[in-house]
């Protein structure tokens, strides 16, 4: 919808490399800064500023948020507009240089066509620079402009410049960055920024502005079509599918396929207010009337017939971890790719990438600002491309289901296994048939609470009562499953998530077999329990919160765990070293100080009511 063609730039550099000054100078030099802001930059000074009175402090033109202005560093991504001499619009995403903000750097680079990297000539190439180059490469940036700054302080020494170029060019090539320009500049004094400098006679290349003016936006209009469907537009006698084209071009009359659904249809019309265009290409928002009007919903992807996308449910992907809490194996997150949302589990961490050295390290976890390769499994097959093929349909976010925070940005490398290779077998004898023979419905009673709350005692008592009533039951006790099925797991939050996942899957099989399954498991994290609940149908999952005060549990201490924790031997004991997140919508809340008899009776009543 933009009126001028866009090029997107990500600007990266360390805190003191002079990045704000360089961008400020570019903006001011292209008339992209209003006069009143220029005036402000003449009269305002931050403490420690060395800019002469009355001169413009260019760095003041780009900072925005109060707190960082006080700290003198950029802490978030800021977007600035600049009109290029070629009348195209340059959007500069100003990414932070500060160490802990890899995440923001990845955000800024995710849509960038070209990267501008600042290197402080006085300090030379530092690990930061390699980090930025690595992240840009990872996020799909294929053109880098390296501005070697502060050469004015070194008398514009050519050997310093050459030394830096000789270090960075091979690094960029190794990372697969196709085009690299290296320019000697002085952000402070303006050399080679807008105009050729007389002080670098040994450099005969273009100025920074000339390079930016020639840079090209990444377009994917030539590729096969990918149109993620955002919404269905309805009007009397009309139904159209609407979305923004990720790659390719769509023309009236094209035959399209709905990825993975064996449905095809022809584009009868590209519908637009006051117009009826013949074609539309990558980046454009369209509404298509299809013939026949096949059943399509939000999250479907329309593709070319001869270059479609095969849905899969296991992927190898790179993650940039953005969450404060580290990645938990086996925990169910929401995977969001454009309009598509599906529950997903990280099944393995393959390695962590050291973004400074480029080396791969063995890792079991990813924490804030880590980058790593993982295997990810989705609950249903989804049409994701590789990131290399398509940024928009080959990328995703992972969302924590409890806090709603975005915890990771992911880039698909490849589908691990075509989902069509494993097809769900349809059983002749199904769960309803089994239920009829048993004469009672199946389901799971999930008891959660602190260690020593009384879960096992209550579950045992309830099972005896149900058994006596002729109900087919099974009890999955937390301690017992750790002797076998889960003996490889410990008690970290990640292992607890996997413990819950496996127990929930086993319970699901048993419910399918027609049993009433009692689960007695601390299962301290709400998100893990919610993921377990989703394996079951409505009414099949009865969450029972055994609510016993911590001091009562500690006084009972049937397994001596609280005593060991007090002695410092059990760092992960729930309620002591780890938090317990009580259920917010439990079907049943039992007071752990009541008698086991009364509690068991309440459970039996709840089961029979289902």
């Amino acid at each position: 919808m933009a009126l001028a063609p866009l090029v997107r730039l990500v600007a990266c550099g360390s805190v003191d490399d002079g990045k704000s000054t360089l961008i400020g100078r570019l903006l001011a030099g292209t008339g992209s800064v209003p006069d009143d802001q220029l005036q402000m930059a003449r009269t305002t000074r931050r403490s420690g500023s060395t800019v002469a009175p009355g001169e413009i402090d260019y760095s003041l033109l780009t900072d925005g948020l109060e707190s960082e202005r006080e700290q003198g560093i950029t802490i978030d991504v800021a977007y600035r507009h600049m009109e290029l001499p070629s009348h195209r619009r340059l959007i500069i995403a100003d990414a932070p240089g500060h160490e802990q903000y890899t995440r923001n750097m990845a955000v800024a680079a995710s849509t960038a066509d070209v990267a501008l990297l600042l290197v402080d000539a006085e300090r030379g190439v530092r690990t930061q620079t390699l980090r930025h180059l690595t992240i840009c490469s990872l996020m799909g940036v294929r053109h880098a402009v390296i501005a070697v700054n502060k050469l004015d302080a070194l008398g514009f020494d050519e050997t310093v410049f050459e030394g830096i170029a000789d270090t960075l060019l091979p690094a960029a090539e190794r990372l697969g960055i196709e085009r690299v320009d290296v320019i000697p500049v002085s952000a402070l004094e303006g050399d080679n920024v807008l105009e050729r400098s007389g002080r670098t006679p040994w450099y005969d290349g273009p100025t920074l502005l000339e390079i930016l003016d020639q840079s090209e936006a990444i377009t994917n209009s030539e590729d096969g079509l990918r149109l993620p469907v955002q919404t269905i537009v309805r009007a009397p006698g009309f139904r159209g599918v609407a979305g923004t084209i990720a790659t390719g071009t769509v023309r009236a009359g094209d035959r399209l396929e709905v990825a993975g659904r064996s449905l095809t249809a022809t584009v009868a019309e590209i519908v637009r207010l006051n117009a009826s265009p013949e074609s539309a290409e990558a980046g454009e928002a369209v509404c298509l009337r299809l013939e026949p009007d096949v059943d399509i919903t939000r999250g479907d992807v329309l593709t070319s017939v001869d270059d479609t996308c095969h849905p899969a449910d296991r992927f190898s992907a790179e993650l940039v971890w953005c969450g404060d809490e580290p990645l938990a194996h086996g925990r169910s997150y929401l995977l969001v790719c454009g309009p598509l949302t599906v529950p997903a589990v990280v099944t393995a961490v393959r390695h962590r990438l050291d973004v400074e050295s480029g080396s791969l390290e063995a890792a079991r976890l990813l924490a804030l600002n880590d980058v790593g390769r993982v295997d990810i499994a989705t609950d249903a097959p989804v049409p994701l491309d590789s990131y290399e093929r398509s940024r928009h349909t080959g990328s995703f976010l992972l969302v924590d289901r409890v806090t709603g925070d975005t915890v990771a940005a992911g880039m698909v490398r490849f589908a691990l296994r075509r989902a069509e290779n494993i097809t769900r077998q349809e059983y002749v004898v199904d769960r309803d048939a089994r239920r009829r023979i048993k004469g009672h419905p199946a389901g799971v009673v999930w008891l959660t609470g602190l260690s020593g709350a009384g879960k096992s005692t209550i579950a045992n008592e309830a099972e005896q009562r149900l058994h006596a009533l002729g109900v087919h039951t099974y009890l999955l006790d937390g301690d017992n499953v750790r002797f076998g099925l889960n003996k490889d797991l410990g008690f970290t939050p990640e292992d607890r998530a996997e413990n819950v996942r496996r127990v929930a899957e086993v319970a699901r099989l048993m419910v399918d077999a027609g049993l009433v399954v009692l689960v007695a498991l601390v299962s301290p994290f709400r998100g893990d329990r919610e993921a377990a609940r989703e394996l079951f149908e409505d009414g099949e999952f009865i969450e029972v919160f055994v609510d016993t005060p911590l001091d009562v549990c500690a006084a009972r201490d049937p397994k001596g765990l609280y005593a060991r924790a007090a002695a410092g031997q059990l760092p992960n004991l729930t309620g002591v070293g780890q938090d317990y997140e009580p259920p917010t919508h439990a079907e049943l809340v039992l007071s752990g100080t009541d008698s086991a008899d009364a509690s068991a009776a309440a459970i039996v009543a709840a089961v029979l009511a289902e």
Partner: protein, 286 residues
């Protein structure tokens, strides 16, 4: 259009905040396009401080009837009853009560979980860091550090207890883009954007147009007829006009192409301390 469709499809109850200004006009037009030939699938809401220019209200009502919009007018009636005016309470407190509080209360009253607005990143420096989808915590507070990373075209639309979303589809537009779009699409705008002889009071170097008899003059002030227009519209005692003879769309655009003063320079409420827009935003101002 992408952001508008996402807002409509991913949230339970979105609303479009219509301020009557040029940006809102563009936003409204994009919303018509995004869902054409269907209707705009959400209501529009105007936060009325009761001190808007009369021309703005007339224009709003024309737009509502022409496009058959579902209009909600939100006013902080309690503050009106208490006699809050831009003259009596100072621009800062007045803006907080009549705009920020009025908006927050209306969003809560109707249970809107996503509010779409026409803010642009080029308007003001702190807005350069605003997301297109900007999360608000319970109480509509904006916490810069809790903002979600925005990558590609994937929006995390999960809202937990009390959270809401503000959506800014025009983030990447500039003021000039807005005018060029208005010209290209032939959109109507409030006549105040065009130069005309208007009664003006010069106050602290700013040109204040006297829109009705509620204007309070300071000692020595009188109004005089001046040829002026507006770049940005708000409450009349708080929106300064610029001296201009641009009375057609082409003239306005030509003036803008040669001018180099930031748009909100005429908005008196921004001037109180260089970080004041940011402080207002933290409280829930749009």
């Amino acid at each position: 259009m992408w952001a508008l469709r996402e807002a409509a499809a991913a949230f339970r109850r979105p609303v479009l905040l219509y301020s009557i200004g040029k940006d809102s006009g563009v936003l409204l037009h994009l919303a018509r396009k995004a869902f054409y030939p269907g209707p705009i699938p959400f209501p529009v809401m105007h936060v009325d401080t009761t001190w808007k220019f009369r021309d703005m209200i007339t224009f709003r009502d024309q737009m509502v009837s022409e496009y058959q919009l579902e209009l909600i007018v939100a006013t902080n009636e309690a503050a009106v009853a208490e006699g809050v005016t831009p003259f009596s309470h100072g621009s800062q407190e007045y803006t907080r009560l009549m705009k920020t509080v009025a908006l927050r209360e209306a969003l809560d009253e109707y249970g809107f979980d996503a509010a779409i607005g026409g803010s642009r990143r080029d308007e003001e420096r702190s807005r350069a860091k605003e997301r297109i989808f900007s999360l608000r915590m319970p109480g509509h507070r904006w916490e810069p550090r809790r903002q979600r990373p925005e990558l590609w075209r994937s929006v995390n639309s999960e809202l937990v207890e009390g959270q809401t979303m503000r959506v800014f589809p025009l983030s990447n537009w500039t003021e000039l883009d807005v005018w060029r779009y208005i010209r290209r699409e032939g959109l109507p705008v409030v006549p105040l954007y065009f130069a005309a002889e208007r009664p003006v009071v010069v106050r602290q170097g700013q040109l204040i147009v006297v829109d009705d008899e509620r204007m309070q003059f300071e000692p020595g002030e009188t109004s005089q007829q001046r040829l002026v227009r507006f770049r940005s519209l708000g409450c009349y005692p708080l929106s300064a006009a610029v001296a201009s003879s641009a009375d057609t769309l082409d003239d306005v655009i030509a003036e803008m192409e040669s001018s180099n003063e930031s748009e909100r320079a005429g908005r008196l409420i921004d001037g109180e301390g260089s970080a004041s827009m940011e402080s207002k935003k933290v409280e829930g101002y749009f």
